[in-house]
Amino acid sequence: MQPHPTPMAQFLDEFDASLLEGSVPLRVFNDPEILDGELERIFTRAWVFIGHESEIPARGDYVQRRIGRDPFVLVRSDDGEVRVLFDACRHRGAMVCRAERGNAALFRCPYHGWTYKNTGEFAGAPFFRAAYGSELDKSEWGLYAAPHTEILHGFVFASLDPDAPTLEEYLGDMKWYLDLLWGQCKDGWEVIGDPQRFVVEADWKSGADNFCGDDYHTFYLHRSTIEIGVMDGVKRGDSTENLQGYHVQAGNGHAISHFLVPPEVPGPRFWGYPPEVAERFTPDKLGQERYELAKHSIGSVGTVFPNFSFLAFPLRHSRKEGPVSTMVIRCFQPRGPAEMEIWAWVICPKGTPEEYRRKTYRTSMGTFSAGGTFEQDDSEPWIAQARTAGTAYGRKLGMELNYKMGLKGAASATRVDDFAGPGVAFYPVLEDGVHRGFHRRWVQFMREGGYPSAMTPEQQNASAGEARSNGDG
């Protein structure tokens, strides 16, 4: 028996090497030491999703958010700027924002009354002159703000690392796909209602990894939904064979699973939106080619590393009407070892007629939410995975999980070069490359000291032996 657990650096080196062979150590799904590393090395460096501009339409509007486990306030300041403020009073560190949502000109610390403008600037403190005389430079005592905040199509992202690249560089080829999804509507997108939040006793990576493109689990874990017709909008006839599903590794650990309807097949387009909503899409923003692709897109699932995910499919939560477009976004927030908090939003194109807006909300929550006919089953294996990841015997074995699907010798999917978008694409979707790429980026973040260097789609897709490609046999 070893006297000590494997030191982290050695563990990460071994993990990186094992990924080439399609293995992921079970341990990563429940380990306090690994979680501490993630909070320090991933969540204080990566660009993470904070919220959508439509959640804070007016000046002074704010919502409470998290980066890792840390409290932040997303606020539209009085100067119109969107800011991500660290919710810790500069005086004694108490939190200054005590409600999940509201409108405030000032944030007041309840402890001694230090007060901040909604720009984060120091506004005042009780007995200021008597307490501090003229020694204190007010301009130095504002709330800390995330060093980088950027907005893409209304989606607000932040990074806590001054050395972080721009959001565009960070997203790599994934930006092309986010543009495809959210960059083509005349007036952009908006959140409906408030996010649903729920605690799952599982690791945050279980969710992020799944949304990278685990199309394999859909037909077993979610078979109940297939049997009762929820999937009728995706399943055409008796099979999914005439759905063209692609797996794309988009660089920097990001991945998307994208489904097209062949041009000759009539049926849902623009992810299932009916004409009165689809008319919100326009070729004016990104050009005719991307518009045509959106027109033939029926489904997308993806993860922006580390923990921001999305899903769009036409689904049914009614027998009286046909499939309804479902568009949800997710944050898988770490809370502790084997404990995460899932944040779930429903979005739709701005200007969606009221009746369809209600339909898409009901269908989205009816399928993809804590109570959704789809999603209520997802947490079952994730909780169990965290449990086995914490077992003594699993540790003793150094148990490795099978992420080999799509590797040479274990593959029906092949690399294709005729897919419309950038990145490394595989067809069809039964392959684990999208998951291996997520974990490869994870290792890089956990291992590298400076800001992790860019990872090309080719590097993300690395595997042992010969490269896989068309005609590679």
Binding site: R101, G193, Q196, F198, S224, M365, S369, S379
Partner: protein, 180 residues
Amino acid sequence: MSAPADSHLLTRVPSGSADYWRCVDFLVDEAAALDDNRMDDWLAMLHPEIDYRAPIRITRERAAGAGFSEEGYHFFEDLDSLSIRIDRLATDYAWAEDPPSRTRRFVTNFRVFECERAGDLRVHSNLLLYRERLDDPRPLVMSAERRDDLRDLDGGLRLLRRWVLLDHGLLNTANLAVFF
């Protein structure tokens, strides 16, 4: 449709009256059907036009009210969608409830009120839902006020409208696979 009115705006039906006991019996029988997993019996207690909702609740400052989302709902159901959920449970793949949870619904603090439409009855009650899953000895306990409208149909009361006003912001559960 907006949220059901607060009780101080309603006219009380006296406790102990015949209508009061009809409502209490209905809700207690309904809780038993759910606890016993008699889902078809439960469906039969629902009015064909049922409007079943559970608004998302968030933490707001006192001046902003109780914090129920104006547009966000954990559940926003009609008879059609509720029956889809129940059909799902009957498949061999409804993992979130197979094996089923052990549940006990404690329904208390009944207050019966008159409705706008004569003959309908409004009932406010408190619900404590005790739920155990698999071999986890820590019960999941959820608490809510329910505001229900009951209407006579074919000689018995039916649940016409239910708003589940949860006391939870961040949900303490991995799924909402049971009914309130």
